[in-house]
Amino acid sequence: MMAGATRTRLVSRETSRANAVAGVAVVLAAILFAMSLAALFEVIPISDPIAGIPVVAILGGVLMLLGGAVIAFGLGSYLGAVETQPSPSAGVVAAAAFGIVWLVLVGIAVGRFLSLGSAGWIVALFVGGAAFAVTAVPREDIGSTLPAGAACLLVGATFLTGAIGPEWVWELDFEQTASLTAEFVIPVATLGAALLAGWAAAKAYGGFGARGRRMGAYLLIYLNAGSIVGVLFLLLAFTTFRGLPGLFTGVEVGPGVGPSVFGIALPVSLPFVMNGVALLNDFQGVLPAIVGTIWLVIGAVLFAVPLGVGAAIFLTEYAEYGRITQIVEVATNGLWSTPSIVFGLFGFAFLIPRFGGGKSLISGMLTLGFMLLPLVLITSREAMLAVPDEYRDASAALGVSKWQTIRSVVVPSALPGVVTGVILGVGRIAGETAPILLTMTGGTFVPGGQTVDVIGGFEFTAAPPFVANPELLQATTALPFQLYALITAGVGLGDNVASPEQFQWATAFVLLLVVLSFYAIGIGARYYFRRKLNHE
């Protein structure tokens, strides 16, 4: 038998109570993690008490409980009270991590509260080294629980004793005056301590050894994934809650109160999305910007998708793979990473003189179309390369020509991939500000009467080209630009808006809604094409 290897029992009993302790510790860590995230985003204000107890005290108490449980489990395992299968050591990586954590913790504590000067750093280094040794040298059950539990206890005690309270401010002695407030420090410290102790608790729950390490890794991965989803959700919720009051300003429900569409008066009046900005409006709105954004995206997609897909067909199906295709590939990748302001300048210098000399909707559409083009090309090319050659062979063996094969086999198989590319691209261009600032936007605020009406704008003329559309040549506005103008200047709203901040948030919220609806359309289209491909 190898040295240090222990025989484990196939079925272990009597560990259920100890395991419950470790399990509770894992749950506590997860709760702490969620609470500290919520506190960080000010969903739970740390200065307010919950059920009469200050939030800081709750965090501190739970931290101490968690630290105590972790240490107790580790000691119990070391003394043989709990049946586990620990490795001889927790490992160098864990030791280095704990060493650094303790170095920083003690360094800050000594520097803030004891003011020992440079001697403080010697103390910190010493403690950090000790944490390294405690992690690396003893058996795993002590090595991974003691430093983590002790860190938890230390942080918890700091909170409980009030050494760091809600009013605490950490003045940083940098050249620029900067300070960290308790609102930031407390959640972050809790987050870190909860992660460490949660990891140790998960290892303990798995009984250390290989299974314990797996549990520890699971915990870190799940908390990571959970926090990413959580942050995304918080961001959406934040914008929504801030945006709703502005969006519903002056809302009226009742027969005939809304503007009439095709001769029928709508039963809802929502001034924010149905009005423009005008001096005499009771409530200001962003209708021209919404319509402008939608037409912008439609125009850019109509321009870029046929060109991009066509180029992709040429590159994958017709062009011999070689220098030319490689150059095109490098060029498209470069174009995709080109800053949007460069596209804007191109539109300003090239398109505007060619479309009537002034900023116009069509210049904006084409500029954004140019931006979208490389992504559509790249993703369509990838999607077509992924279509198996067997399909092309099968079609050729039936005597079907290349173009018909592309049309009826290659492109349908590649469509879901193409749509994915368009979705990604639309997400980018719909929120672009810089290019449309240079090519499309006229006045910051456009009255509702000047909302672009591309469909209604078509006119028949007596002379060729027989069809004209002055609406396309009109300067207009779009949501991201309007938001930018509102934030940087706050101009043009006059006194007709109760709260400019509400107006801004409502604009951001509507922009988010517009982009999300484009996503929804795209995802729906992709789902449709995939279904058609796979199930019929």
Binding site: E390, Y391, A394, A397, L398, V400, L533, N534, E536
Partner: protein
């Protein structure tokens, strides 16, 4: 003669192995080993066919005549050029940009490697079934109707339907006939609109055969059609091939010598270097091979 052998030996690594395992000078290929006389008319005639992929000499002076309405098996070790040979018969090798083809292939006496050959017409007359089943990601019905629709033989488009000229009945007849001929109708007739990728591997391969039949070919080329299938599905495909030989000329590449012996009327053995070594009646090739190397190969001494 021995000089040419040395040259081929120098070209590729596989020939070396052949020499070392047999441990003697490579036996010379004699013309008479490829003599095969048959009663019926010749469907495909091949003369001095050479194929190069870049510098690689994949086929070396192959000549043979394939009789009409029969099953011809092409066997040989991997990399011997039998698939290359097969793909020359409907000019699928044209799709490989590095391929260079010399020599002559005739279909019913007409040269297919000449200016002005209509590839669409050629591939309609000479169909092909591939090694791994490759139905399109469409419904079973669409898979069968694909070829005729693209050739304009069957028109069920929107315009045709509006003008009352839709060939829907003809399409249904075609789908049923092809699926019946491919022995698949009974298994799928209640789900013709299902995606073909939901079929089992053996069913997919029979669907590919049915799709191949849809354009009324005269010759069907099969490139190891059963190599990806289980024994039961393989048996079904073999039965099917024997039946097809009543109406079509079947040329089949296979790795499985028992399969070749079971289903084919004549067998051509390719050995390394892209050479056709022996061609003759299947019974004769398997029971009394004229070449020593072919005998070694068939009895499993190499390959």
């Amino acid at each position: 003669m021995s000089k040419t052998t040395t040259q081929t030996t120098d070209r590729g690594g596989t020939e070396d192995t052949v020499e070392t395992t047999t441990g003697e000078t490579v036996e010379q290929v004699r013309e008479e080993w490829r003599d095969y006389s048959f009663a019926g008319p010749t469907k495909i005639g091949v003369e001095d066919l050479d194929v190069y992929y870049g510098d690689d000499h994949a086929l070396d002076g192959v000549s043979m005549e394939i009789p009409e309405q029969s099953v011809t098996a092409l066997i040989g070790p991997s990399g011997c050029g039998k698939s290359t040979f097969l793909r020359c018969l409907n000019r699928m090798n044209d799709r490989v940009s590095s391929a260079r083809i010399d020599g002559s292939v005739t279909l019913d006496g007409e040269e297919i490697y000449q200016e002005g050959v209509n590839l669409v017409e050629l591939r309609k007359r000479v169909g092909m079934v591939f090694q791994s089943p490759n139905p399109f990601p469409k419904s079973i019905r669409q898979n069968i109707a694909y070829g005729p629709e693209k050739h304009g033989d069957i028109n069920t488009g929107l315009l045709a339907r509006l003008l009352g000229r839709s060939d829907e009945e003809a399409r249904e007849e075609l789908v049923e006939r092809c699926l019946r001929d491919a022995a698949l109708w009974d298994e799928v007739n209640d789900r013709l609109d299902d995606n073909s990728l939901g079929l089992s591997g053996g069913q997919q391969q029979r669907l590919c055969i049915a799709r191949c039949l849809s354009v009324d070919p005269e010759v069907i080329l099969m490139d190891e059609p059963a190599s990806a299938l289980d024994p039961i599905a393989t048996a079904k495909i073999e039965d099917l091939i024997e039946g097809l030989a009543e109406d079509y000329t079947v040329v089949i590449v296979t790795h499985n010598m028992q399969q070749a012996a079971r289903i084919s009327d004549q067998t051509a053995v390719f050995l390394t270097g892209g050479k056709l070594v022996e061609y003759g009646d299947t019974d004769q090739v398997f029971e009394d091979p004229r070449s020593e190397r072919v005998e070694d190969y068939i009895t499993g001494k190499f390959g």
